[in-house]
Amino acid sequence: MNFLRLGLWLLGRERASGEWRVLLLALVIGVGSVATTGFLGDRLQRAMRDEGARFLGADLLVTSPRPVESWPDNPLATAHAVEFASMISRGDAFQLATLRAVDDAWPLRGTVRIAPRAFAPGTPGRALPPPGSVYVDPQLLPLLDAQVGDTVRIGEAAFRIAGVVVEEPGQLGGVFGLAPRVFLRGDELDRTQVLLPGSRITYLYQFAGAPPALDAFTRALKTRLDDTQRTIGSREGVETLRGAFRNMDAYLQLTALISLLLSVAAIAIAARRHALRHYDQAALLRCFGATTAQLRVLYAVQLFTLGLLGSLGGAALGALVQQALGGLILPDTLARLPALGWKPVAVAVASGLLALAGAALPALMRLIRVPPLRVLRRDLPPLPLSAWLGAAISGAALLILVVAYARDLKLVSVFVGALAALALVLALLARLALVAGRGMRTVSRGPLRFGLAQLLRHRFDSTLQLGAFTLALFLLGLLALVRTDLIESWRTQLPPDAPNHFLVNIAPHQQDAVAAWLADHHLQASALYPMVRGRLIEKNGQPIADTLPPEDRGDNSLRRELNLTWTASLPANNAVTAGRWHGDRRVAAPARGTPSGAPLLRSDPSAELSVESGMAERLHLALGDTLGFRIGDQTVAARITSIRNVKWDSMQPNFFVIFAPGMLDGLPASGIASVRVPSGPGSPMSGFVKAFPGITVLALDKLIADIEAVFARILAAIQLLLGFLLAAGLAVVVATLLASLDARRQEAVLLRTLGARRAWLAQGLMSEFVVLGLLSGVLASVCAEIAMALIAHRLFDLSPQLHPWLWLVLPPLGALLVGASGWLTTRHIVRVPPMQSLRALG
């Protein structure tokens, strides 16, 4: 006989029996939630990349001091611009400006907003002005005493000002200190005749396209570029978004893992029940002459078919739900994203099969080992499968899943460690709780006493159920905690009065006037930081590149000038992680210049500086290293005495390198500060621009609004994912209850036969579930607090804290959840008349 066919035939016949239904349901929910998180996570990540690209203006930006003649073959969209500094004049007024000559595709991603006057909202569009005209930075208007519509000169050509640029991509990311921007047409560049051989020109190339093509292109490019050329990916577009990306990645990984584990728990319980209920069938088949190998084929084909059906169903569910959710969360980006490919479907199906194998194989392997003698002695259990083997199978399958989904090894190890600890703690706590229950039983009465007795009688079952409920509640609680903490951490990162304008290029003599002006207008400003630009060239006297492994030599912080500052007080949003903040330990500023005019080396063994931790890691910098910077024609060296964590998304002026006061004093520095300007019409900043024509004002309110929108979307997605996890948790609850249904039915029938009233029986059952739910709620709270403390510490760099509301919510939730689903699953056994039940028992 073809056991494949027989297996399918039996499976088909049992379809209606409901045995497989639980398993299938658990699988559909499990794979559905995993698929949804997977699909949605994938889409969210792509949407995030999209946002990054919008901020950068492209998926990839290449800057070069020379025209790039040839590119690796690519199917990408391109845009091109030439950037240089030049004078712009109107009548007697002259001003240095940064000119950008663009083609009609610039920018490829995001938009440029052009307005008829400064601080007006403007309309989105391309950067290319109409022929014969330019778009200018609003700062230029007061400097040139011009209005939109006036004519300005650039070199030999005259242009009409067609509008002001109120917003453009790539406003952040090291533009401080640049002269105000002017956009002109690339095809009109020659008319100006300002570009002479030897002019300092930056050639900008934008690229946009599908991620795989981009990746391939970026790789091919890496080998061709030299030190003077830079690539900037969309992820690097805005440092402000980097923290958000990281947290969201970690969060989605965590969510996918948790839903996966819930479904695996549900499947394992359902599979155990299925195997238990098929011991007789397997024994009978053996009795009729089926061999172990044949039974293996028979049950394997059933398992595989179920796995395939459930996984496909789950994948379909996930695709549907994520499409709906995606439409809600990302209506604008969704249209631009490619449709779901087959790959995520295949991944979902594969994970479903793997989860099913891990959860169900040990039970099914026991099933195959049922002794045929069971047909005569019904109580005979299957030969015990080595507990280690079962654990190894499940463990291996789970580990593959966890590693595949989490990718991040740190996350995996934290998670697996926490789970192992959890299993131990759960077993212990469940035992303890049941012992406590025994005490309670002696003082309780009636149905409650019966319910407690039930819990204690099936001690193993109760421990299992308690463990499963607790796990479900724990994970839900943990998720809620992580979510709240995430929101909180973002809120504290970006308070409602976060600065939304940067003031750049404040001359030392202007400082007091600026502070007075801001105070007059009741505007809150950050500390003012002096800033000089310098390039990191040496570590401990050696060229910095020589101290790095080849793969790290291309780091962007080596390719460009860094903004250097000095201050005695540690800036807000900075935290020293190693060493000691230099504080006011100043060194005397050395005399300027040397008689011979040779480059001066400012070096003082006591000079100190502080480095940002990410940069320290990338460039292999440690406390005690001496760094040398080239600032203009001088070299400045100081020793690293502290390493700082910086919240890049804090909207404050942030610096990779901060010197102790004294070392840089006297160098030509300009000041930078951030200020909070209330939103709404009639911005006071137009007055500021008039009062301080030389100071550049960067308006970031639109950018902040964008970031907030991104976060609102992430949070919305997270809330919806929470709903999915709740469904997976309920699957666990129902599967566990179904697992004990047969035993319960028998007991109920017996009790009914012995004269127990229906109401009494119902109350007994209810009190059992409610107690179980309450207990698991308490245990879950304990576990969630512990895990949260670990996660907050390890992953999100937050300090642990207690969450009282957890203790108020989880136990009642447990009671409600377990009570309701317990009642729904078991209510019919109370209703069945004893006679009919006896027959059903067979």
């Binding site: 029996s17 002459g289 019904r378």
Partner: protein, 235 residues
């Protein structure tokens, strides 16, 4: 043992020699069967009788190769069972051994017809469906072919089980208390059916019972007391 000119005598289907079964318990080894010997020829009917707990089911399980004795030998279809592993014994049984149980042991998800079909499919018979229908008709349940066990009475379920036992044309049928779960009237009718089918199919029948009247209908009776053969009676 077997006469050299075995052609003149019916061959042995199942033989046991010095069969003992001891199981470890909390109070040391418990002897369930001690030194049992028997020889069942093709076409014979044998009743194993004895009080509850005397070891009848244990003996039946050993004879059918469902379990291995702690001492002694069992030969089924001429094969020495303790030299075969679990799977080899299963292959030996396939299609050649039928079973009837006290608690019927029908698969609840399958219809009456499908339950009869099961061992036929397992044995790989090609005319399985027709055979199953035929045997269901023989036990008088053709009209209930599509009913599941839950919709059948105990007697009807046992008749399905009997059809299932005979459907593969087995050489031997083992029955463990086939009337144990039935009332006297129904039990009697089941017994009639069992013997009638057995006679017409020339099957060997080994039947465990503590019902004296049922035992009396067998050609030979083997009485167990506390795991020992007390006496063997041939009709």
């Amino acid at each position: 043992m077997t006469p050299p000119d075995s052609a003149r005598f019916p061959a042995s289907i199942v033989q046991a020699r010095a069969l003992s079964q001891r199981v470890p318990t909390a109070d040391g080894l418990l002897a369930i069967l001690s030194d049992v010997a028997l020889d069942v020829k093709a076409g014979e009917t044998l009743a194993i009788t004895g009080a509850s707990g005397s070891g009848k089911s244990t003996l039946l399980g050993l004879l059918a190769g469902l379990d291995i004795a702690s001492a002694g030998e069992v030969h089924l279809f001429g094969e020495r069972l303790d030299t075969l592993d679990e799977d080899a014994r299963a292959r030996l049984r396939a299609g050649r051994v039928g079973f009837v149980f006290q608690s019927f042991q029908l698969l609840p998800a399958l219809t009456a017809l499908e339950n009869v079909l099961m061992p036929l499919e397992l044995a790989g018979r090609d005319d399985a469906r027709a055979r199953a229908a035929h045997w269901l008709e023989r036990v008088g349940l053709a009209a209930r072919a599509r009913h599941t066990p839950r919709q059948l009475s105990g007697g009807e379920q046992q008749r399905v089980a009997i059809a299932r036992a005979f459907a593969t044309d087995p050489e031997i049928v083992f029955a463990d208390e086939p009337t144990g779960n039935l009332d006297a009237d129904t039990g009697a009718r089941i017994v009639d059916l069992l013997f009638e089918l057995n006679a017409s199919a020339h099957t060997t029948l080994v039947l465990v019972t503590h019902d004296a009247t049922l035992a009396a209908r067998c050609q030979r009776r083997l009485h167990l007391v506390a795991g020992r053969v007390q006496d063997t009676v041939s009709a």
